[in-house]
């Protein structure tokens, strides 16, 4: 990235008083960064005979590799599958906003769309390094149109395709040039899929199985052809059956190529998958679990109607449904909606850090496992584990500062910067948890963006804010007042969520009044 000489002269940052995730463990170690890379301090000490130029006290917090989201359809009103004139600025907006969720790299995902959309959109989203401007784009994830009709989910039926005789050419004709593509989700039971999988794999594109009615045998054959990922396990595939586990059976299949690890995406938002199912998958194959958001454009926005590709969806709380196709998910407020558990939601709006927290709580796994599921595993899936998803020496300095309950306190991302000396932009945020926003605390939340990586606290000190403004930073102060109506509305939203959680559990006969929400998970 940067010339050796320039990097050697760059400032050395030492993050102290922290626990870092390294080698699968949380170690009481300092994190050293120089030139946007994680630095080996022992080498610095003995070979260069240097000490740190600046120390930052992390207050005992956890430093984890930045999260990597390999399935995100949009957010903040931006829909990646829309062929707008300026696709680039939409991607940039999302890239910037997801930093506060702890995501430092992502794969913008396009749902099933007509070829014109792909031809227009795909070339406009190149692979791009992250930086102060936002999370890095690792490549596109094309989910569809070569998927199963029965398991299309929210994908529009009109644009589904199957492979014709000249299968790979058909794919190229649909998508256009594949330079910016990183992952393709397809259904392996489609004819000619194996030659397509093989061809994509040779081109370094990760093939994922999803939206499919394939049985286990077909899935295993697809893995032999090169498939390495499963798109949102359990959703949009045949359910597990004890005589034919289907795609789900890949997690424990003994018919896979030796040494090959099959990865599988899971949307751990509490609605897409019952926590018990999440636990089963995690216990069966913990090393392959990849947390994804599968977020739709409504991510980060309030309730209401938003687009998703060629469809419209309605958002309420943390779930979304295709508008007009299904009854309003709540029904009358006084009646629980019994059919909710059986109708799969059409997209998620839970941010990545919420997913991590829910995953941790639902599976009871270690903090290290939860963090690796959102960072190391997606990096391994994409073959990037030397530079991303890890805090090993030499890796890119993309990391997130978390408190003990895994709320994002700050995100650091290694950036270019014109001067070459910029190491990382730090974005302070006060968690993206719905419960936080419902808190009856009143006060001022300061989101501080500054090229000098300044910290905005809770509550902020006037001196700090003044200093930030003085240095040309941008400071947004959002008053959060504990007004009655605001609290009541938010409480209803929570209650709805509580209902959803209760319905989703197989034992769900509990009264809606009781609070069954996981501790600070959502």
């Amino acid at each position: 990235m940067r010339g050796g000489q320039g990097a050697a002269e760059a400032r050395v940052l030492q993050f102290t008083n922290c626990r870092i995730l390294r080698g699968g463990k949380l170690l009481r170690e300092d994190l050293w960064v120089r030139g946007g890379r994680i630095l080996d301090p022992e080498k610095l000490f003995f070979e260069e005979r240097r000490v740190a130029d600046e120390r930052r006290d992390c207050g005992g917090r956890i430093l984890a590799p930045g999260f990597i989201d390999v399935q995100i359809n949009g957010g903040f009103g931006v829909d990646f599958s829309q062929a707008t004139e300026d696709v680039g600025s939409g991607v940039s907006l999302v890239a910037r906003r997801i930093l506060s969720h702890g995501v430092t790299s992502f794969c913008p995902t396009l749902v099933t769309s007509p070829p014109e959309v792909y031809h227009k959109v795909v070339p406009q989203i190149p692979v791009k390094s992250g930086g102060p401007h936002g999370a890095g784009v690792l490549g596109l994830h094309l989910e569809g149109p070569f998927i199963s009709r029965e398991k299309r989910g929210a994908h529009p039926e009109a644009h589904l395709r199957s492979f014709e005789a000249n299968a790979f050419q058909d794919l190229l004709a649909t998508y256009g040039p594949l330079d910016n593509v990183r992952i393709v989700t397809l259904a392996p039971e489609l004819g000619h899929s194996h030659e397509v999988i093989r061809e994509l794999t040779t081109r370094g594109i990760c093939v994922s199985l999803g939206h499919s009615v394939a049985d286990l045998r077909a899935a295993e054959d697809a893995v032999w052809s090169g498939a390495t990922f499963i798109t949102h396990l359990f959703n949009a595939m045949l359910p597990f059956h004890h005589r034919d586990p289907g795609i789900v059976g890949l997690l424990t299949s003994d018919r896979l190529p030796a040494g090959r690890c099959i990865f599988y995406g899971m949307i751990a938002d509490g609605t897409h998958t019952n926590p018990a199912a999440l636990r089963i998958a995690h216990r069966a194959h913990p090393q392959g679990l990849v947390l994804v958001t599968d977020a739709i454009p409504a991510l980060g926005l309030g309730n209401g109607r938003h687009t998703l590709g060629q469809q419209e969806v309605e958002v309420d709380g943390l779930t979304a449904y295709v508008a007009g196709e299904r009854p309003h998910p709540l029904g009358p407020r006084s009646q629980p909606a019994c059919q909710v558990a059986h109708d799969p939601p059409d997209g998620s709006i839970a941010p990545m850090d919420v997913c991590v927290r829910h995953f941790l709580q639902a599976t009871g796994c270690s903090v290290e496992s939860a963090l690796e599921a959102a960072s190391l595993h997606p990096a391994q899936l994409l073959g990037l584990e030397k530079s991303k998803g890890t805090l090993d020496f030499g890796a890119d300095a993309d990391f997130v500062v978390l408190d003990d309950s895994l709320h994002v306190q700050a995100t650091y991302i290694s950036g270019g910067g014109a001067s070459g000396a910029l190491l990382a932009l730090r974005i302070a945020t006060v968690g993206s948890d719905i419960r936080d926003w419902c808190s009856p605390r009143s006060g001022v939340v300061v989101l501080t963006f500054s090229p000098f990586g300044f910290w905005g606290g809770w509550p902020p000190s006037p001196l700090l804010t003044g200093a930030v403004l003085g240095t040309g930073g941008v400071c947004l102060a959002l008053p959060l007042f504990s007004s009655l109506c605001c609290k009541a509305q938010l409480r209803k939203c929570l209650q709805v969520q509580s209902d959803r959680m209760v319905r989703a559990s197989p034992v769900g006969r509990e009264q809606p009044g009781k609070n069954h929400l996981p501790r600070r998970a959502l």
Partner: protein, 297 residues
């Protein structure tokens, strides 16, 4: 010689750390006046290092004007190997304190010309004005590490402990300087457990300061803890000076302190132990009060 006897390992480590702390602060190190410390590796000094780090973290002690010289290093082992003495010093000491990297000297076991490296090291010590305080542990082949290898190698049975300093094994000249040493077979066997049990991976040679180099230090403090070191301690102080027990050379050093725990005194005469325990009130004056750099020293 002072023989300081504490009840257990932790108290012995703490006493030693307090002594070092006081010596550094009393010396009043500064820009043109560095305090030179000789440092050991191994399991014995770990408690002492932890205590020194604690004093540093609490603001009582700074190593800004302290120079350190380590006693030895393996030959041919990569510097960043977890078993190298560079790694040991970094992980157990240097990374926790504020020493200037230019002032931390360790022999380079990967130098092109090893003897030149040894000579350069001696020169660096001289240029630093000699070592003010040298801390060392007692290396003992009959420690717990060796025990499990006994059944495989019958010819090392019966050798017994030998109490040497750094890698100055029995027979080393008492006036030796920093040099290359081939390691004895049982040292290699004892170290094998740190190299996945693979004898071919264990270093067979090391660079070590000589007995003479250590004797040149203005003050020497030797840490001896554990019952398995008791016989070596007996040989060191109750018998004569002998090159088979190189630590006995310190009987001829003007300022030596042996810091040990009760178990290490098990082979000494009751008379010796009682005599030195009776002097503990004098010895404790060296560590009480414990000075602090916060007091403007």
């Amino acid at each position: 010689m002072r023989l300081v006897i504490l009840d257990n390992y932790d108290l012995a480590s703490e006493w030693a750390a307090k002594y070092i702390c006081n010596r550094i602060i009393q010396f009043k190190p500064g820009q043109d006046r560095y305090f030179t410390l000789g440092l050991p590796t191994g399991s014995t000094p770990l408690g002492c290092y932890k205590k020194l780090i604690e004093y540093h973290k609490n603001g009582h002690l700074s190593f800004k004007y302290v120079k350190t010289f380590n006693m030895d290093e393996y030959v041919g082992l990569p510097r960043n190997h977890p078993e190298s003495y560079h790694s040991y010093m970094w992980n157990n000491f240097f990374k926790h304190i504020d020493i200037d990297p230019n002032n931390a000297h360790i022999l380079d076991g990967n130098a092109a010309d090893l003897q030149a490296e040894c000579d350069a090291f001696e020169k660096k010590i001289k240029e630093a004005g000699g070592i003010d305080l040298l801390l060392e542990g007692l290396v003992n082949k009959n420690s717990k590490n060796c025990a499990k290898w006994d059944q495989n190698i019958s010819f090392i049975k019966g050798i017994g402990p030998d109490g040497h300093i750094a890698f100055n094994e029995p027979g080393s000249s008492l006036v030796s300087r920093t040099r290359l040493k081939t390691l004895a077979m049982d040292t290699i066997l004892a170290n094998a457990k740190y190299f996945d049990g693979d004898l071919s991976k264990v270093p067979t040679m090391a660079l070590t300061v000589g007995v003479g180099t250590v004797m040149d230090a203005r003050e020497v403090m030797i840490l001896i803890t554990g019952a398995h070191k008791a016989f070596a301690l007996y040989k060191a102080i109750e018998e004569g000076v002998n090159h088979m027990w190189t630590v006995s050379a310190f009987q001829q050093h003007p300022r030596t302190i042996f810091v040990c725990d009760e178990d290490a005194t098990l082979e000494l005469r009751v008379k010796t132990v009682k005599y030195f325990k009776g002097l503990m009130h004098v010895h404790n004056k060296l560590v009480e009060p414990l000075f602090s750099m916060k007091d403007g020293n």
